[in-house]
Symmetry: C2
Subunit: 254 residues, 2 copies
């Protein structure tokens, strides 16, 4: 099973949109996919139509209760795609696990237990460097750093890359880092210059695919569906499809 | 002194851009302004040109150390505008103050001590519902909920409004809430419909001013200056100037 944490401490750079649409296209390509919502905002859950106000169990239980497995909580949203939904209760975890030993390995242990049941696990992270993002980085073999063309987003991307490298050294865990640029608007010089700078800084870690800006993503989120089930031929849908093909092609290299 | 917390748990909806440009225009209008950066990302500090990698003291010290006053830490960035800068150290506060009594009143006490030295205090908040945002809500007499046209952002705005109302009831503190729409793109039907829906939901709490989308904000952030010192005549600058005039006009109503 491949597992990918979608991260950037900077808010609003396209993490949830990437997690939802990558997971959805991987499922469309026939992969068995698990999406874990590690953000108390629960937008990945909402973005796939899950009613997060009436959950009996959620990501919170997976992390807090040793008896709760991924399968006890996950919900099938489309064929081949299961979601571990979250809700606001998850924001209590930082304080409740404060000082507890091994608190950063909670998600890792639960994902290891379902290793054979899925081909891909995608973890959507909140815009912060706290315990939830840390659990996702430790649990996943790969990290996808999502950026939009902005100095603040680049600053966040560089910071989270530092944290991931720290985890590699301290825990001796192998982690691949890939970088994705979203909300690209080729009409502005700023975006063009930003892409050039990002390619210089991140080199081969950058995906070839760049996700172009389109209002279709907000519309799809409003309806609680992935872009491929809302506007399958729009630029944004084609871009996430080509990203998914790049991710699958990576399998040979691993 | 009026104090305004700029909030929304949703990431990337324009909180920092609003805090920086509102503070800067208030100072241009001759008000004595304090901007407190309560986000460990420190983008409000960076957006006003402060070097956050070499700070001796920061928001962290103001919240952790009873001896440290606002004046010990604040930096003058332009005439009439002082900033209490932050850096990544601030993200440790949630764990370090976990369980300590009175931890939500730390910022309030420090702002009360400088009540007579400033006309306005603006507090930039991180994209989360943790202790930092809670400190800002308790410390400030007003909250400005910032939204961009998106279902996720509206969801975040409604949640944070609930938290603010909870603080009002539990602590008996009077809090005014105002709502600002940013990144408005009048070419898309989605933005137009969103504005109409927001006006229905929030009514008189909505500012008349709407901040239009323009790439100039990313350019200004890249140079570490407010929009009025970068592109004073662009739509974005005029929008924040008119917002500031609305905020000042509110003084009569308070
Ligand atoms: N390529 C795109 N073009 C236009 N809008 C986009 C694009 N990708 C995402 N968006 C929109 O931008 C907003 C921010 O995206 P999203 O919520 O996915 O970011 P995020 O990083 O998950 O935010 P947070 O930090 O709050 O978790 C959403 O309203 C989303 O619909
Ligand atoms: N009116 C606007 N038009 C276009 N871009 C904007 C506008 N306002 C802000 N931006 C850009 O959008 C991005 C997000 O804005 P900003 O960082 O202020 O949001 P935020 O809510 O503070 O994010 P976070 O949740 O990470 O703190 C930034 O790159 C900023 O330059
Ligand atoms: Mg998100
Ligand atoms: Mg911000």
């Amino acid at each position: 099973m491949r597992s990918i944490a979608v991260v950037n401490q900077k808010g609003g750079c396209g993490k949830t949109t990437t997690a939802v649409n990558l997971a959805s296209y991987l499922a469309d390509f026939g992969k068995r996919v698990l999406l874990v919502d590690c953000d108390p905002q629960s937008h990945a859950s909402i973005g796939l139509g899950v009613d997060t106000d009436n959950l009996l169990t959620s990501t919170y239980d997976v992390l807090m209760n040793p008896q709760t497995s991924i399968h006890d909580v996950s919900v099938e949203v489309t064929e081949n795609l299961h979601v571990v939904p979250s809700n606001v209760v998850l924001s209590a975890i930082e304080q409740q696990l404060s000082g507890k030993p091994d608190r950063e390995n909670r998600l890792r242990r639960k994902l290891d237990a379902v290793e054979g049941d899925f081909d891909y696990t995608i973890v959507d992270c909140p815009p912060s460097v706290g315990l939830l993002t840390f659990n996702a980085i430790v649990a996943c073999s790969e990290a996808m750093v999502v950026m939009e063309p902005s100095y603040y987003s680049l600053h966040g991307a560089l910071k989270v890359t530092d944290s991931i490298n720290l985890v590699r050294e301290q825990l001796g865990l192998k982690k691949r880092i890939r970088v994705l640029l979203t909300m690209f608007d080729k009409r502005t010089r700023f975006s063009q210059e930003f892409l050039r700078e990002a390619q210089i800084r991140f080199g081969r870690e950058m995906f070839d695919t760049v996700i172009r800006r389109t209002v279709r993503f907000r519309e799809a989120a409003n309806w609680g569906v992935a872009i491929s089930h809302y506007a399958r031929t729009c630029t944004g849908a084609r871009d996430y499809k080509s990203l998914t093909q790049e991710v699958i092609a990576d399998e040979e290299r691993l």
